[in-house]
């Protein structure tokens, strides 16, 4: 009960800074400091988004992007957590994968999109794969860091009480890494939006990235902004859900 009350208050505070930015923007347009042709007032963009965009099929674009993100994100994160824990716990696995990871990690994921399209075709799969790869690295590195920060005392306790290997992985290493894993999950969800939009700029005929690019080419400034706003809203929604999930799953962290 109090928990959900706290959540509501948190959500209200969360909305403050974006709301302040929109308000400032709105005022700058009304005072003609900003040129409304290039920077339409947020209120008119929201109006466009809610009234005009649906008839232009924005919902389809959003659904396509969300679909690509969701599948890629889930696959990438699961693989990242799994390999991260395996590398954290096994010296052999770490030695085997660490070099390939530090070599491939810094390559901009969007730079390999053409290669991925060569391998996986120009359909949905290549966009999903590029999102998955992006999420994979962020989650992997944070998971590995989480497992690495397992304090020696917990290993000692596990040895003394003869904790089984399985229990050590799932009840000691994993929960200890969970706060760090969540850091990776949050970074990855933002990053997956970046990647999916970039991928849709060039290689898609649906999706928010496609919508933005298309609107720019036809000088439909408000439709372009509608697309940008939707990305912001999605980012907000995803991050907020992850925050909620984190506070449910990591209730033992001392409150910061």
């Amino acid at each position: 009960m109090t928990q959900s009350k706290n959540d509501v208050r948190r959500l209200l505070i969360y909305t403050l800074s974006p709301a302040a930015m929109l308000l400032l923007w709105e005022m700058l347009v009304y005072t003609a400091i900003l040129d409304a042709r290039f920077f339409p007032a947020p209120s008119s963009i929201f109006y466009h988004l809610l009234v005009v965009s649906p008839s232009e099929g924005i919902l389809t674009d959003v659904l396509y992007s969300v679909y690509r993100i969701s599948v890629g994100y889930v696959v990438g994160c699961i693989l990242g957590v799994t390999l991260g824990i395996a590398m954290g716990l096994s010296h052999g696995v770490r030695l085997m994968f660490y070099p390939i990871i530090i070599v491939t990690y810094p390559i901009p994921k969007i730079a390999i999109l053409p290669l991925i399209m060569l391998i996986f075709g120009i359909g949905e799969l290549s966009k999903i794969v590029v999102v998955a790869i992006g999420c994979f690295f962020l989650v992997l590195i944070n998971t590995l860091h989480g497992v690495d920060s397992l304090e020696k005392i917990y290993r000692d306790v596990a040895t003394v009480y003869k904790i089984t290997k399985r229990n050590f992985i799932f009840n000691i290493a994993f929960p200890r890494a969970l706060p760090s894993i969540f850091t990776g999950l949050k970074l990855a969800i933002g990053y997956s939006l970046v990647i999916v939009v970039a991928a849709e700029f060039s290689g898609a005929d649906k999706g928010i990235g496609y919508l933005i690019w298309q609107s720019w080419e036809t000088f439909s400034i408000k439709s372009m902004y509608a697309g940008i706003f939707v990305i912001g809203l999605l980012g907000f929604l995803f991050s907020y859900s992850l925050d909620l999930l984190e506070r449910r799953m990591v209730p033992w962290l001392e409150k910061r």
């Binding site: 005392i153 917990y154 040895t159 009480y161 209730p251 962290l253």
Partner: protein, 249 residues
């Protein structure tokens, strides 16, 4: 149990030959650096033994005796509730029947006075309460031998007295063999049947003192008695040379 451990990193022992009786409360005191903690860690298998013999008598049935340990820093898992911290280790003990775990956990939490805190997380507890959970965990797991590495060193005076008294109660009820390391001479005399006094570099035995004070012990009465004072004083004199103090302050 007797051995002569030689850990190449730091601790070398010399003529370290002693044995602990079954059901005995055995304390080890000595200055920092004499290898008390390493000794315990070697006994429980957390540190390799490079030379010497460490013999643990098997149980009556011939099985290997189980050794538990209570740590200075408790080592409670922060992501598990108090109850879960205890039940988790019991679930990993093949010698404990699954059906009995819930009752055992409740029983031991009640004995250490934490029944009302069973669903709390460790970060919500004070240092003394955390150490109680850790004590409950190790006794509930029912090992044959319990090693304790300065478990009360971080606690304030009052909490320490309470926990010492609690520990004696649990020990008498369980009849376990306890090896308790401390640098607090009073604590050693309060708790022990025998106190082994060590000196540093190389770690060696100065003396093993039998504490002939009757049980059950009332910690508060005992502290005021002259017999207690005499034992403490005697051990203090033995360790005087180790303190490296100027003659007069």
């Amino acid at each position: 149990m007797s051995f002569d451990n030689n850990d190449k990193q730091q601790f070398a022992y010399k003529n370290l030959d002693f044995s602990v009786n079954v059901g005995e409360f055995f304390c080890i005191v000595g200055p920092s650096g004499c290898g008390k903690t390493s000794l315990l860690r070697t006994m429980v298998g957390l540190q390799p033994q490079t030379s010497g013999d460490l013999v643990v008598a098997p149980r009556e049935g011939g099985q290997t005796a189980d050794i538990g340990m209570i740590f200075q820093a408790q080592g409670l898992f922060p992501w598990m509730s108090v109850r879960r911290n205890v039940s988790f280790v019991l679930e990993n003990n093949t010698g404990i029947e699954k059906k009995t775990i819930t009752d055992t956990v409740d029983d031991f939490l009640q004995r250490v006075g934490l029944s009302d805190y069973a669903d709390y997380y460790p970060h919500q507890l004070s240092g003394g309460m955390k150490q109680r959970v850790s004590i409950a965990r190790s006794f509930a797991n029912n090992p044959d031998i319990l090693l304790m590495d300065e478990p009360f060193v971080f606690l304030d005076f009052h909490t320490r007295l309470k926990l010492q008294s609690l520990l004696l109660t649990l020990w008498r009820a369980s009849q376990k063999t306890v090896v308790f390391v401390t640098h607090d001479i009073e604590e050693a005399v309060l708790l022990a049947d025998r106190v082994m006094v060590m000196s540093a570099s190389p770690g060696t035995i100065k003396d093993i003192v039998s504490i002939n004070l009757s049980r059950p012990r009332d910690i508060f009465k005992l502290k005021a008695s002259s017999d207690f004072g005499a034992y403490v004083n005697g051990i203090m004199q033995m360790l005087k040379g180790e303190l490296d103090l100027p003659e007069s302050l």
